[in-house]
């Protein structure tokens, strides 16, 4: 449980500074440190047990079906990293308090830093590789935010985007790699994976898995050729660079190499891929670092180079090399973080990081200079400092590599070369900044020592460099031993860190590197000129150009597909549907199935003929919109006849009432639209559309035929059997609607009501040009409300309402129900509107149809909720039999109340649509309504 607490405390720590920011910077800083301090304390409390070789675990199931568990482990490697993360994190928090100017939000930086801390702790303590990936992505995201902290700077935004693109892509590769690992091993548990090393290495998927995992590690740890994001991430505030881009995040990649070492290492492929990537990175970056004029640029390339060294050590695949790698991770974190902080101090006090301007600072800030020089010497690998020890181990390991064969001399030579460059740039850092004449146009002059507490973090780290360098046996050895044992998966061989190993080859290599580095630096003038001529390429420009190119490609594709023409989308849509349908139907061997065909009777034949003629007619005369509408209604009628013919009376009733409403609606709308459709399609377009629609029609017909001629099984037997006993109604369709699938119906009437409300909103404030003649130029009739019609419909209204009530009441047992009754009521009301006018109706029927529709949905919902009162699930129905005086025995089901809701919604929604459209016609057709005195109302 404390493990979980260690990881999650920074999350709490991320919230605190945001809250305390308003009470001043000191309180904000101290309160931000509380959570990491507790985490660090908890870690230290576990120290003895872990150093004794124990592995602490925490396990909780999260998504067991995916193999993703919330399981954590604390072993030597995790402990070492967790200590670095919380320890250096605390120092960075303190440092940032003084680094950040009062314009920038301290709370935001603290919050982001602690979210990052959480993510890093999650990576190093995960015992499940999927969980580790979650945290891995979180580091990419939080680092994106941290690099882009000064979001007003273009460089910061671009740098952040580049870092996210590279590490994010790497994260995806790692995800694939992790899934493959899980596939090979059968578990995502880290313990299982580490134990299954032989199985993984023997598996045929091993090469691809290894490459994917390495891609993830190399992008994160900025290995060549993915290194270029790191120098651009330096546009982040310096505390962020010190923390993320030297001590922790870039170490996540090498941590991954260490963590999966027992599972993946030990093959020739591992050796060549890992060590040569590391070697190339180390030499290339050390060489480039020498030529960077920006302090942080130099440090960034130096970081890349040292990460290359660590990678190289893991590539060596010997036990001591792995130990050396672990050791160098600690050393690099200490001296590089302090160097970054020193660079930040210099930047802070002088206002520049350009080494061509920064000279001779020794006079102005001797104390800072001393600290930076010690750290820089550690970076160069000078004896008595920690960097020397790990570099010696590195040289020693480079001398005997079994895989290199006759080329064995290559590795030590290149290792020495890399170290030589490293000495040169470290010496440049010291000499250029603190000596080498006088400063040139400093933005802030004269520089002076920074505030006391800004130096404290640097001091602590530098003291660590010295302590480790001089007394390795007492300080770092237990940690290193525990961590290296955890990396190897077994006890590390006996090895003692010591300053003096006698005169041997590694010492000679160190000597050559030191002397050569100083010599190289002394020749810098010519070298710089040479570099300027040859190797000037800005990765950012290249990267941006590629980004732009891919954006243009995407734009081009989008433009091809999406030109803003709905007509084209429709054609593309139908075309794609055709392709998909054809692909799906292709394997079908036989069109006709085994089911017996039903005989054709003459009436059906005539009806079908009517439908076909109606359809084609609609198309042929569609330029005359009104005529097309009339033909369309013929088709609708035949469709409702078809429903009757094949035993669907409910559908027929619904269809015919909807038909009436739809045609009235279309006619109303047609009043506002042109009466004729201009002939715009050229012959080519017509041929294309005929081909498309013909093919689609043929496809659907064929599909229909193949289905209809085949036997089938249905789930409907359940409904048929339980309709009377369970739903209390013999009309199975209605019982399905209001009982079995009542929840669906509730959704559907909600959609209906929503559509009506949407229509109301669109009609609001709508002004349309007013036609005063029909399509052929005839004026509209002078008498819009013929008396005979109005009188007749007034008589009809109560009759129609009664019919609809009858249809509603019998709906549960006979064809009918809420939907149909609602539509019939609507038709009856619409008839009144048509015959006597909207105004007349409005005076008599003062209903707000929006409220009617809404109350319908409410009734249905409340009916459903009512079953909760009796302890049943939502929409459970019940029924009983009551005896009515005249009617006789009558069945009353609670589903009927639901059906009332359906009925009310249908009436409300339909009338909302039609009455408002009608009112629109009214308001534009007639002069504004006036009262008796002739004033406008």
């Amino acid at each position: 449980m404390t493990l979980l607490l260690i990881v999650l405390l920074p999350l709490f720590g991320a919230l605190v500074p945001l809250a305390t920011e308003r009470y001043g910077r000191n309180i904000c800083a101290w309160s931000a440190c509380i959570a990491p301090l507790i985490s660090l304390g908890l870690l230290i409390s576990h120290l003895p047990r872990v150093l004794a070789g124990e592995t602490l675990r925490y396990h909780r199931e999260w998504l067991p079906s995916l193999g993703l568990d919330l399981s954590l482990r604390l072993d030597g490697l995790g402990l070492m990293f967790a200590l670095l993360i919380t320890g250096i994190g605390l120092l960075v928090l303190l440092y940032a308090r003084y680094y950040l100017s009062s314009k920038d939000s301290l709370g935001k930086l603290y919050a982001l830093l602690q979210i990052f801390m959480l993510a890093m702790l999650g990576i190093v303590l995960s015992d499940n590789i999927l969980l580790m990936l979650v945290f891995w992505e979180l580091t990419s995201l939080s680092s994106f935010l941290l690099i882009g902290y000064w979001s007003h700077q273009s460089a910061a935004r671009k740098g952040a985007r580049m870092a996210l693109a590279i590490t994010g892509a790497g994260g995806l590769c790692l995800l694939a790699g992790a899934l493959l690992l899980g596939h090979i091993v059968g578990s995502f548990n880290l313990g299982d994976i580490l134990a299954a090393g032989d199985q993984i290495r023997a598996h045929s998927l091993y090469p691809i898995t290894l490459i994917l995992v390495l891609l993830g590690a190399f992008t994160k740890s900025a290995q060549f050729p993915f290194h270029f994001w790191l120098p651009h991430a330096m546009s982040a505030p310096t505390p962020v660079s010190a923390y993320l881009h030297s001590a922790t995040m870039v170490k996540a990649g090498v941590f991954l190499l260490a963590r999966l070492y027992p599972a993946l290492a030990g093959t020739e492929m591992w050796f060549f891929l890992v060590s040569f990537t590391g070697l190339a990175t180390m030499v290339y970056a050390a060489y480039t670092a020498l030529f960077k004029h920006d302090l942080k640029g130099l440090l960034a390339y130096s970081t890349i180079s040292h990460l290359g060294l660590i990678t190289l050590l893991f590539g060596f695949s010997t036990e001591l090399a792995a130990a050396a790698a672990v050791f160098h991770i600690i050393n690099h974190a200490t001296f590089k973080a302090s160097l970054f902080m020193a660079a930040g101090i210099i930047d802070h006090e002088t206002g520049t990081r350009d080494m061509r301007k920064l000279n001779g600072l020794w006079k102005y800030m001797p104390y800072t200079a001393l600290l930076a020089m010690v750290a820089s010497a550690a970076m160069a690998g000078v004896p008595l400092l920690n960097g020397f020890l790990s570099k010696e181990m590195f040289f020693a390991e480079s001398l005997h590599l079994e895989y290199m064969g006759a080329w064995g001399w290559v590795m030590p030579v290149l290792a020495t070369l890399g170290a030589l460059f490293s000495v040169a740039y470290s010496w440049r850092f010291i000499h250029d900044v603190f000596f080498n004449g006088e400063p040139v146009d400093l933005p802030k002059y004269p520089p002076h020592e920074p505030p006391r507490f800004m130096k404290v973090p640097v001091e602590m780290l530098v003291v660590l460099c010295l302590l480790v360098g001089i007394f390795p046996h007492f300080t770092v050895e237990p940690f290193m031993h525990a961590a290296a044992s955890a990396v190897l998966g077994h006890e590390m061989p006996e090895y003692h860190l010591a300053l003096w190993h006698g005169f041997n080859l590694p010492l000679l290599m160190s000597g050559i590197a030191l002397a050569g580095g100083l010599l190289l630096y002394s020749q810098r003038k010519g070298l710089f000129a040479f570099y300027e001529r040859k190797f000037r390429s800005d990765e950012k420009l290249v990267f941006e150009a590629r980004v732009q190119r891919s954006v243009r490609l995407a734009q081009w594709v989008t433009d091809r597909l999406e030109n803003g023409s709905l007509q084209r989308y429709m054609a593309l849509f139908v075309g794609s549907a055709l392709v998909v349908g054809t692909v799906g139907m292709w394997p079908l061997a036989e069109w006709t199935g085994s089911r017996a065909l039903t005989p054709v009777d003459p009436v059906s034949l005539i009806a079908a003929g009517l439908l076909i003629v109606g359809s084609f007619g609609t198309v042929l005369i569609h330029h005359n919109r009104f005529a097309a509408l009339l033909l369309l209604s013929v088709v609708g009628l035949v469709v409702s006849l078809t429903f009757i013919r094949f035993s669907a009376p409910d559908l027929a009733l619904t269809q015919i009432s909807v038909e009436a409403v739809t045609i009235v609606l279309l006619m109303l709308a047609l009043y506002f639209l042109p009466q004729l459709t201009p002939n715009e399609s050229g012959p080519k377009r017509v041929v294309r559309d005929v081909a498309l629609s013909g093919a689609a029609g043929a496809g659907v017909g064929l599909l229909c035929w193949t289905v209809l001629t085949r036997p089938f099984t249905s789930i409907s037997d359940y409904f048929l059997e339980n309709s009377v006993s369970g739903g209390g109604g013999s009309n199975v369709v209605n019982v399905i609607l209001v009982d079995f699938r009542g929840f669906d119906t509730l959704g559907e009437i909600t959609v209906l009501a929503l559509a009506a409300v949407g229509i109301y909103a669109m009609l609001h404030g709508l002004k349309l040009p007013l036609p005063n003649a029909d399509g052929e130029g005839r004026r509209w009739a002078q008498d819009p409300h013929p008396p005979i019609l109005s009188v007749m419909t007034r008589i009809l209204l109560p009759l129609a309402i009664m019919v609809s009530l009858y249809i509603f009441l019998r709906g549960h047992n006979m064809p009918g129900g809420g939907f149909i009754a609602g539509l019939i009521t609507s038709v009856a009301l619409i008839l009144q509107y048509i015959s006597t006018g909207t105004e007349w109706m409005q005076q008599r029927l003062r209903w707000n149809y929006r409220k009617v529709a809404a109350s319908g949905v409410m009734i249905a919902t409340l009916t459903g909720l009512a079953s909760w009162l009796f302890g049943y699930p939502f929409l459970t129905s019940t029924f009983t039999h009551v005896h009515w005086p005249v009617v006789g025995d009558f069945e009353l089901a609670s589903a009927m109340a639901f059906d009332v809701g359906v009925y009310v919604t249908v009436v409300g929604a339909t009338m909302l649509i039609l009455a408002h459209l009608g009112r629109l016609a009214q308001s534009t057709h007639e002069p504004p309504a006036t009262n008796e005195k002739g004033e406008k109302i």
Partner: protein, 115 residues
Amino acid sequence: MELLISIMIAVMTACGIYLMLRGRTFPVIVGLTLFTYAVNLFIFVMGRLKAGAPPIIGTGESYTDPLPQALVLTAIVISFAMTAFVLVLALRARAELGNDHVDGAPVNEREDSRI
């Protein structure tokens, strides 16, 4: 009969889609309505053709499949709502854009504006 129904659905689909590919809003809506008929009928006949056997318990020996009927019944009502919605959208578009072309402007005008 199966063949006849298939042909009916095929014809309605083809005519509906042809009209939906037109450039003016009203024919598109008419096409949509035709297509809706076709789709509803298609779903309905998935319960196979059976005459004289409505799914009302107690009216006969065997019953046709009630499930597609229940589906289609709500589909009819919803498609009415959708048709109405699209129709009012077309009216609104006419008011806002001054024409009734689906792309917001007739083809020749768009050509002009590009030049």
